[in-house]
Assembly symmetry: C2
Homo-oligomer: 324 residues x 2
DNA sequence: TTGAAAGCGCTAACAA
DNA sequence: TTGTTAGCGCTTTCAA
């Protein structure tokens, strides 16, 4: 690949002039402009963004850490993040942590080395590691420390809404299938669900899944699901797990929603593909991604913004797995 | 963020020594090592990968261009790519093209500017634009030019296998729901399916979907699906579209596989979640991703390898939507 | 409007 | 084993 010196030489000007042409920082005469333009096109020159970043200390890159890009919720969110980052002139360095603390640490080093302008980390497992990092950070879905902004759906309210809908739909023997204890988001859903049930003086039973997404989800949890027929309403911590539960019920000829009503969480594309369509709690993924990047960019630009939780509103999407 | 000069000064050594310590290129005395180590930890110094890349001309970054990371097949493949790249010390710069030629062009410039070591582009829409790029490239799923290696599943054979299974399962009134004309992969599936049908002297009907994945897939194509009840076997170009078809059939109380048998393509996680489970053609996603990165890295390391198609074997996954 | 030169943070050749 | 120095490709100050 060519460099600015060769371009300058070929165009018969100084490198400073080429730089000015490239960045449009100062006026360059039309005559010189044309000459430079011609050379650049001839050799297909692209200015070295790395060298530029070394000098300007602005890599125009955002590090995105997610559990895994193949996880349906996080890949949707990554898509929105990418879009918004791109619209603001930022590129994405992709990191899959696999919910593994060591991988996250390793990638954290990589992102610092690459001098990313900002970091979005979804469902972080680290705490102190973020203490002495001088790069703006947004934590998605859970809390790292008091100094780091969290962006998240209002999972607690989501849990409440789920309960209320089940209750109003006539369910009284209710089960909650909850996510792994280490996930803040699903713990909040659980908490909201439980609190809403308490208000109605209703006891809730629980089953816990060990992961939020995996191909073998049914197989892994089939033992736990054996006795769910005695309930008339189930709130599942996400849509994929809800689909797994539905599959189990169908295999046992249980009628949904007649025998058992179900509510999922996320409103992912799978909801409409299931039969009946899955009633769920919508996470406003567009707003979530947009807010995350907007706040991060403000942080990058040294704007002062309140360090607090940014909680996005969720809502019920009423479909076929509930009666009401 | 600190820099090598400050570290050297604080440790009382030269920057060359610090550099040698960082890279382990030459021996550094234990005493000096300890001093440097201490300073580095104190200030949480991370060597600037950008500056390093400017000099070494090796960014250790791979540009990954996919239609969209939220597309179930491509996010799975991205996950495998990331894993393999990471195992080889490479990071991923993520680019969503949205199947948009202008976005792809723009990102191609970005990747060149960032001096990525190599590029993986899935389902490229550009041709000439790749002509004068001096970065190793692997094209995933379709052909760009004679100089660029293509890695792909054997989609043609997949189509054939799908037909044969439907035929052996007794289907004689067969429909193929094909993907958009512009997708090489689905065109190959179509071609294989058609050729296999010809061998049995069977006429096949066709419906074409405009996209391979979107949330509103059923709504968009509902008119086209109105007359599919007259068939006894359907091969759908991918699993998500197959799920859409199944949903339509269930809404009309058509029994699967009794009335209509269905085969999808990809073997994505959704297959096991559907009821009945979807018979499909497996794409060996692990092998695909592994091969892609292995070949790309050979290219990066200037190893000579044949410029040809690398076609990975597909196979039938027999589940509940077919009788046999 | 342009050029010379210094410097961003790093590596590596050369010398000691 | 270590230090000095040139140079990677770029931006920006200063002077013309």
């Amino acid at each position: 690949m060519s460099n600015i010196r060769k371009i300058a030489k070929a165009a018969g000007v100084s490198i400073a002039t080429v730089s000015r042409y490239l960045n449009g920082t100062e006026h360059v005469s039309d005559e010189v402009k044309l000459k430079i333009q011609k050379v650049i096109e001839e050799v297909n020159y692209k200015p070295n963004a790395l060298a530029r970043a070394v000098f300007t200390k602005n890599s125009k890159t955002i590090g995105l850490m997610v559990p895994n890009i193949s996880n349906p919720f996080f890949n949707q969110m990554s898509s929105v993040i990418e879009e918004n980052a791109n619209n603001n002139g930022y590129n994405i360095l992709l990191c899959n942590t696999d919910d593994d603390i060591e991988k996250e640490k390793k990638y954290l080093d990589v992102l610092q080395s690459h001098r990313v302008a900002g970091i979005v980390v979804a469902r972080s497992k680290c705490k102190e590691e973020y203490g002495n990092i001088d790069i703006p950070i947004i934590s998605f879905e859970n809390h790292i420390s008091d100094e780091i902004i969290t962006v998240s759906s209002d999972n607690y309210s989501g849990g409440k809404i789920a309960f209320e809908h089940l209750y109003e739909s006539g369910c009284r023997r209710i089960l909650h299938i909850k996510g792994p204890k280490c996930f803040e988001a699903t713990e909040e859903r659980y908490r909201g669900f439980l609190d809403a049930a308490k208000e109605k003086n209703l006891e809730i039973d629980f089953i816990e899944f060990e992961t939020d997404f995996q191909v073998e989800m049914l197989k892994e949890n089939i033992e736990k699901l054996k006795r769910i027929n005695k309930y008339d309403g189930i709130f599942v911590f996400n849509d994929i797990a809800a689909a797994t539960v539905m599959k189990f019920l169908k295999m046992n000829n249980t009628k949904i929603p007649k025998d058992i009503q179900i509510i999922g969480f996320d409103n992912s594309f799978i909801c409409e593909l299931l039969h009946p369509s899955l009633t769920t709690i919508n996470q406003p993924i567009q707003e979530l991604g947009k807010a995350t990047i907007e706040i991060l960019i403000k942080l990058i630009n040294n704007e002062k913004i309140p360090i607090k939780d940014y909680l996005m509103e969720v809502k019920l999407i009423n479909r076929g797995t509930t009666i009401l």
